[in-house]
Symmetry: C2
Subunit: 416 residues, 2 copies
Amino acid sequence: MAGPATYFDPANAPRLDAPVRDLVERRARVMGSAYRLFYDDPVQLVRGEGTKVYDVDGVEYLDAYNNVPSVGHAHPRVTAAMTHQAGLLTTHTRYLSEGIVAYAEDLLGTLPAAIDNIMFTCTGSEANDLALRIAKLATGGTGVIVSANAYHGVTTEIAGISPSLAGIESVAEWARVVRAPGTDVDFGEAVEAAVSELGVFGIRPAALIVDTVFASDGVYPDVPGLTRAVAAVRRAGGLFIADEVQPGFGRLGHGMWGFERYGLVPDLVTVGKPMGNGQPIAAVMAPHGLIDRFNERSRYFNTFGGSSVSIAAAQATLDVLRDENLIDNARDVGAYLLEALRASGHFGEVRGAGLFIGAQLESAERAVKAVNDLRERRVLLSASGAGNDSLKIRPPLPFSRADADRLLTELDTVLS
Amino acid sequence: MAGPATYFDPANAPRLDAPVRDLVERRARVMGSAYRLFYDDPVQLVRGEGTKVYDVDGVEYLDAYNNVPSVGHAHPRVTAAMTHQAGLLTTHTRYLSEGIVAYAEDLLGTLPAAIDNIMFTCTGSEANDLALRIAKLATGGTGVIVSANAYHGVTTEIAGISPSLAGIESVAEWARVVRAPGTDVDFGEAVEAAVSELGVFGIRPAALIVDTVFASDGVYPDVPGLTRAVAAVRRAGGLFIADEVQPGFGRLGHGMWGFERYGLVPDLVTVGKPMGNGQPIAAVMAPHGLIDRFNERSRYFNTFGGSSVSIAAAQATLDVLRDENLIDNARDVGAYLLEALRASGHFGEVRGAGLFIGAQLESAERAVKAVNDLRERRVLLSASGAGNDSLKIRPPLPFSRADADRLLTELDTVLS
């Protein structure tokens, strides 16, 4: 991504305090140039609880950014479930296990009835990679349509449909990138044009894949034209893959899934990040007919996908999500925050649903400065959007009104 | 894979006892046709300790198969390390952390000095996918050479170089498959021919990727011609990727890595399965120059790759491997087992090193029957090889002489 970013610039290492500098330099030596750190002054976190994290000096930060520890940092029920299972057995899916079947039934119960099969992976990247393989095998098509600044993951195949990774030139020749929401082109119209263009090149569409909150495009939870876009792809024989890795598991505050806002039933649904509250677990869900067609032509086994400990973490996470009414909390606190951000006068557009909000500033420079200033004031968040000019507010779901007030106060301080 | 297999045939579900049948049927409804179970009579494991696992009725089995729980099932030090870290914080690599840097230094210290950078992923598939991306970007080549029944993983890219998944027709057009060890063609000669053939098609080689124990080809720890093969690929501008996902972390009983047997220094090394004793962690290691070239053209971030809990598990696993002298144990018990298997008269070729052994029977039918008969006698293993005619013996590394004797006794019973 060109332009100002919220990442640490290694050239500034000499300016850091000695112990931090030492760790940054050791890290660079062994982890190399691909690893980036957040902030001009990197944070060394060692502990977390709910929506708070603590650095190596015991300083407390409000976490308004991390969506993976979705039911709260180090949630005791999730830790207990993992500990219990790790003390018993960690194994794969080629032995029978009650836990994985019960979890699969539980999770599929939150989706439309047609989506009745699940396949477990470890990461959202693997889930999207598998979903695309299934879509390509099932349709016989190869074309894939994505939004302008889409991010769907980092396998070779999925990097080819993730223009946000390395720009438009890294997009695969069988992919078509369409204008993102927020531009003056209707998303449905743009996808119709992409389907036509694929046709001109003799490429049959396999799928339209959409992060249903368009997170990397700048957070757009309600996109006019998505229904029309899905219809266009289906008419041409392609499938609709709902990438729920970011919006899923209740973050948007209404139901479990981003696609529910549209009344659409996807052909494939992928989930990941918050699924195990930090444990590496992700999945593809689809009607069994699609899975069967894939299975006639290929086979799939993921050694760690759906391993005993990962399933224990995922089940505990889902239980806590319900028992602590975190979706309602995301709706209530999210609405409160959205309204207050809009009323603050600091932002252009403030977009979002539940606890996923993009708040636009005048420029990337200003957004990056705000992110670093907030870090100094002990509030963690980041920037997003094609122009990197929006603050990305995406805290753990137990984020309270008091947390929201603290965030609003600090935002007011750094932006005034 | 055609022919007899060690997997459960769903058509036989009605023959199972009621509680097992019920779980098998519920499983099939939600997990679908891609999930396979081991054995004619699937095993429902609920607990493990060291080299023993226990089913839902409390029956004990000797595990002579699972390489993932490498330092032993439910090792208390690994569980304690995970529990401690999960109770503190699970987070990603964009915050500073001492643990990940210390682990990276520790692990890289077991490799040749030239290999000084590590990138963390969650699975061996992701590690091989990333290694191939790095190799392709760094060399400008696209051609990849693999062995005849190779298995390197399940992402779209890596499935294209894994003929064992769905046969030769599933291999990507930029891949070349060469005769595996065990045939009458020298591996070095075969790779030289493949390099030439790529040249004829105008495809520049990016890499030769080899599981250094040729596990899915039938277990070949010492392949004449591998050094020659590597030289041929390097002459043509390609790199050598050592896939250590199966042989790595001391399983072969001499040093940590399979490539050490050849005195070769790979360009890229991938690791996975036993790395966290079941926790989903894997990695790519390479000289920083290669990583830098990748990073100039792309970027990579894996949300769960190297997460705090995964690193804690990996560090504890590496500590236990050393503190309990498990590599020496793999060497000693492995040598004892290899000799006894050869002397037993039941097998054709018995190949292997340390605790990774392939013991060949007359046919796949006989191997599959032996695997199922052993399961009835409470010993778990599986079959391997292109012909699926070799028993695959690959137990957790604390496998003792007493465990070996028990395995030998039961083998004698079922094969006599």
